[in-house]
């Protein structure tokens, strides 16, 4: 019963994630009656004379970029913390194996 409920919730969430795209797609594409019927003669493309500076076009894009950079560095910090723990763990295992080796060279201070 619980699993079924969870499945339904997951499905609803997935559909909800797709909804904005579907709405956007519908609003972006004009209906057949709205499309211009008259075919224009092919025009010569205009020559661009100005430089293109890639930058956020509006406040929404600018905010999205700032949020993305904060999320990126937050994720990196979290992953680095996990990696630090894993490195300590595997180093400790290696240290034990090293001590138990009969031909081990003398211990040196660890390189930081």
């Amino acid at each position: 019963m619980r699993t079924t409920c969870l499945r339904i919730i997951a499905a609803v969430l997935l559909l909800a994630a797709g909804l904005p795209f579907a709405v956007q797609a519908q609003t972006d594409v004009p209906s057949a009656s709205q499309r211009p019927q008259v075919r224009k003669a092919p025009e010569k493309p205009e020559v661009r004379t100005e430089e293109i500076h890639p930058s956020p076009r509006n406040l929404r894009e600018r905010s999205a970029i700032i949020v993305f950079i904060i999320w990126l560095w937050g994720s990196i910090a979290a992953l680095l913390a996990v990696l630090r723990l894993k490195i300590r763990e595997v180093d400790r295992v290696e240290e034990f194996e090293h001590i138990s080796r009969p031909d081990a060279p003398p211990k040196e201070p660890p390189v930081r």
Binding site: R48, I52, S55, F68, D91
Partner: protein, 352 residues
Amino acid sequence: MTKLAAWFEERLGLSAIAKFGAKKEVPRHKHTIWYYTGSAILVFLMIQIVTGIMLAFYYRPTLEGANESIARIMTELPMGWIVRSIHSWSATFMIAILFVHLLSIALTKAYRSPREVTWMTGFLLLVVALAFGFTGYLLPWDDLSLAATKVGTDIPRAIPVVGAWATKFLRAGDDVTGDTLTRFFILHVSVLPLAIFLLLGVHFFLIQKHGMSLPLEAETRKKRLRSIPFWPNFVFREAAVWLVLLGVLLTVAILFAPSLGPSADLMAPAPTGIKPEWYFLFLFQTLKLFPAKVWFIPGETIAVFLIGIGALAFFLLPLIDNRPAEKKGRMASAFVLAVIVYALAMSAWSLL
């Protein structure tokens, strides 16, 4: 799941690779930090391949289409400007780390016997990376890239006998035209990738064959050093470095995305203040230093000759500095340091 794993194991024998990784050891000493540069280069190369393929889906290597297709990538395609920016910045990062990698090997004398060929393949990899940068610079086809390519492809002309032919070969004609663009595109996406994979294969094989180099003092004193297993101890450390580099790359690529000038006009005069990419600045400034004629020899020919000798000396460094490890002198280190100081000073001068 176990059945599937057994099926793959029976056919591919992947456990041998895992065993190899666990058996391989990385020495631990005060120069260990330089070991991380090798894999960092590889990470940036992978990023370049992925973003390069994405850009190639939309890029058109024609006189009419090159600049416009990049403008379309930047303005119409979702995240197109970021993909282009990541491609451009990862090239810069890769070449910067390549220089650091090569110079660290030169200064720690890790090129000594039996690693001479490893050094030489590494040097050739740097040359191929620079060629990637040079050919890629023309592809946006704006005024600056056209003018810089005209200057760059004119340099080989100073070489006696074969120079004129080399310039003609690079340009696919007497001048930089649409044919040059197509030629550079083919070099950038097919010839140079083949060369880099071939050289990387040989380079990796030699690294596995000879193992990682030890510091000179440890080898001369026959000192035994501690080492850590490649998997997982060293790979986890490398992963931490990759994460930080990836973060820096994405941040820089988003905040400082390269712009795109208007489509190049073949008949227009060269714009003022032409500058190549930062990694060619020292060569550019060296060429500018020489007068038009020194006695009866063209100044450019002397400059190209001297640059060629310097590059050849760098390529043959392990053979020039071939004394046994315990007798390694300071001459090679002094030469490498002089090259670093010269390149930095010339680049700074060129930027002023």
